[in-house]
């Protein structure tokens, strides 16, 4: 009994009798998720305000006689005259490892029905990006598991690589492949007991997407056992635009925790076109002046301040960003695509035509570029894939000319044959990333002409057969390639022996 009394006494002691000061205002109008509030004379820009019923809002427009607040919750309960109070806090979200494997909303609240998140730390949603002095150049690789990307458009930890393309060209698939590949690498790395191994944790931010798509994404990650290394921040099409506007910044705050604590994280913003649309909607309702395509003047700053938060920090970790942009009819010169292209360190352009031809992932080699990733590429990939981009460019050029005439010299024919095989080799089924050692082995086999005798239409089968052969029978060789990260004469000799063995079995089967 005395324990109970003590508990109550402690609770009473916690209750200070000192007066608490609050700054208040009253709702004048509420429309489309935005409340215009009278009063709130002490409110700060971007400060969290509290509406009746615990609904949270953010003060976005501080005007002479009213404050424009976006409401991050149910507006149907709010009415004219309701009291609004300041909180003295900037909008913050819970961060930390406790969020791994969870699905949260734009405010970091769990929406997966797995109970509360045991997180004690909070990070502000809006934060100034790391400065010049605290950054370090990008020189560590981040493997996507997609051969066409890892060999020709390599991505480094701390890089911002845009994934751009029309609807239905496989943008989200590339992101999911990358997340799944990180999970696979994490599992192998952590199991190896290597003290220098740095796992990459992933954050997937779904902005304005259909709920069914988000469910499919969660299912795909669960099926690949990648959800345990992933945090999903969902602001779906059903959420109000304020939540859609905040979600990428919340995701960035969650990612920053890993970066600040000496760990590496990958964040996918899927997608920033819908994010810009949500921001345009809020801005128009707040009566901010509109510019090109009715976007507000600060839409560039909206994305630049978000993407600048991805960095590799000196003595700490890194945050790699994969923003996604959806184009209309392949138009990369529209307002938002050009903005984001200019902010990021390169782009992976996906073409509808390639996708329809069955070339998947439909990466357009000519238009895709990685501005800083080559310095992060490991030696083995440079050794086997250094010339691929040039060879493919040459192939495309010659293929265009070859359409007009049938008489081709031997060299041109060889280039065309090699190019056609490279294109086939880069075809990869979705949600099935390849480890870098398997990629290197397959590309080495291609460079050494093992695929030259294989018919173009059989290249995919041959590649799959080689992959299975290497994984099941040459595990030691793959481990050596992974640990050495370079091709030595001894490794090349082993590869040659393995390739000869595979070729014999493949020819016998074929």
């Amino acid at each position: 009994m005395s324990n109970v009394i003590e508990q109550i006494e402690q609770q009473i002691a916690k209750l200070s009798t000192k007066a608490v000061k609050k700054n208040t205002g009253h709702i004048r109008t509420v429309a489309d998720g935005v409340a215009k509030v009278d009063g709130l004379s002490d409110v700060m820009y971007n400060e969290m305000v509290q509406f009746p019923g615990g609904t949270i809002g953010i003060a976005l427009n501080l005007e002479q006689d009213e404050v424009g607040c976006v409401v991050l919750g149910d507006v149907s309960q709010l009415k004219e005259g309701d009291e609004v109070t300041t909180t003295g806090k900037l909008l913050s979200v819970p961060v930390g490892r406790a969020l791994l494997g969870r699905v949260v909303d734009a405010l970091g609240r769990p929406i997966d029905g797995k109970g509360p998140i045991a997180s004690t730390e909070f990070y502000p949603v809006e934060k100034i990006a790391p400065g010049v002095m605290s950054r370090k150049s990008v020189n560590q690789p981040l493997f996507t598991g997609i051969m066409a990307i890892d060999s020709m458009i390599p991505i480094g930890r701390g890089q911002r690589e845009l994934i751009i393309g029309d609807r239905g060209t496989g943008k989200t698939t590339i992101c999911l492949d990358t997340i799944i590949n990180q999970a696979r690498i994490n599992k192998v790395g952590l199991a190896s007991g290597d003290k220098n191994f740095r796992p990459v944790y992933s954050i997937y931010v779904a902005v304005g997407q259909k709920q069914s798509n988000v469910v499919r994404t969660i299912a795909a990650l669960e099926a690949a056992d990648a959800l345990q290394y992933t945090i999903i921040v969902a602001a779906t099409a059903g959420d109000n635009p304020a939540n859609q506007y905040i979600a990428p910044f919340s995701g960035a705050a969650i990612g920053e925790w890993f970066m600040e604590n000496g760990q590496d994280a990958l964040i996918v913003y899927d997608d920033l076109s819908k994010h810009a649309v949500a921001y345009r909607q809020i801005s128009l309702i707040l009566k901010r002046p509109s510019g090109r395509e009715a976007y507000p003047g600060d839409v560039f700053y909206l994305h630049s301040r978000l993407l600048e938060r991805a960095a590799r920090l000196d003595g700490k970790g890194s945050l790699t960003a994969l923003p996604v942009i959806e184009t209309q009819a392949g138009d990369v010169s529209a307002y938002i695509p050009t903005n984001v292209i200019s902010i990021t360190d390169g782009q992976i352009f996906l073409e509808t035509d390639l996708f329809n031809q069955g070339i998947r992932p439909a990466v357009s080699v000519g238009l895709s570029v990685s501005r800083v990733g080559s310095s992060a590429q490991i030696k083995v990939t440079k050794q086997v894939g250094g010339k691929l981009k040039g060879e493919l460019a040459q192939f495309r050029e010659l293929a265009a000319f070859a359409q007009f005439g049938s008489d081709l010299d031997a060299k041109t024919k060889a280039t065309l044959d090699r190019g056609a095989r490279i294109v086939e080799l880069f075809k990869q089924p979705q949600l099935n990333p390849l480890s870098i050692e398997v990629q290197a082995s397959i590309l080495w086999t291609l460079q050494k002409g093992y695929f030259d005798s294989v018919e173009v239409k059989s290249v995919v089968n041959a590649s799959n057969s080689l992959r299975d052969f290497l994984i099941t029978r040459k595990d030691a060789l793959l481990t050596t390639i992974r640990t050495k990260a370079a091709l030595s004469p001894e490794i090349e000799a082993d590869l040659k022996a393995a390739a000869d063995e595979w070729k014999a079995t493949f020819a016998a089967k074929g």
């Binding site: 209750l15 608490v20 000061k21 700054n23 208040t24 009063g39 004379s41 002490d42 002479q64 006689d65």
Partner: protein, 128 residues
């Protein structure tokens, strides 16, 4: 009807004219209202509503509404008046408003600011 920019500007000008020595003056207000009657500016309803809001806000800043549950101690209002006058560097007058929903303690409102020291608010913070 929502006030446009010109109406807002005029309302603010009229509000400034309604002050004498930084305080709302009844004489000045009647002068302003007389001017509005005489010149009938555009959107008179929106103008007067805006003007009224500005005056009400200004008056609220000089008034401390002391909501209390139970009896208010003698001299308490005078003490609050003194403290608020000192805090806001302007004359503040206090008025009492009994409210049993506070359960115990007081709540003082000066303009947008609320100083809360009531049992009801502490219980609310416990339940949050």
């Amino acid at each position: 009807m929502a006030a446009d920019k010109k109406t807002k500007l005029l309302a603010r000008q009229l509000f400034k004219l309604s002050l004498a020595d930084g305080q709302v003056s009844a004489e000045q207000i009647s002068g302003v209202l007389g001017w509005v009657n005489k010149h009938s500016p555009r959107r008179p309803l929106a103008l007067l509503q805006l003007y009224q809001r500005l005056i009400t806000t200004e008056l609220a800043r000089s008034q401390a509404v002391v909501t209390h549950a139970g009896p208010l101690g003698a001299g308490m209002l005078a003490q609050i008046e003194k403290a608020m006058t000192l805090k806001y560097s302007r004359p503040v007058t206090a008025t009492a408003a009994p409210d049993s929903s506070l359960l115990a303690g007081i709540r003082v409102r000066v303009g947008d600011d609320i100083y809360e020291s009531s049992a009801a608010s502490q219980l609310a913070s416990l339940s949050a």
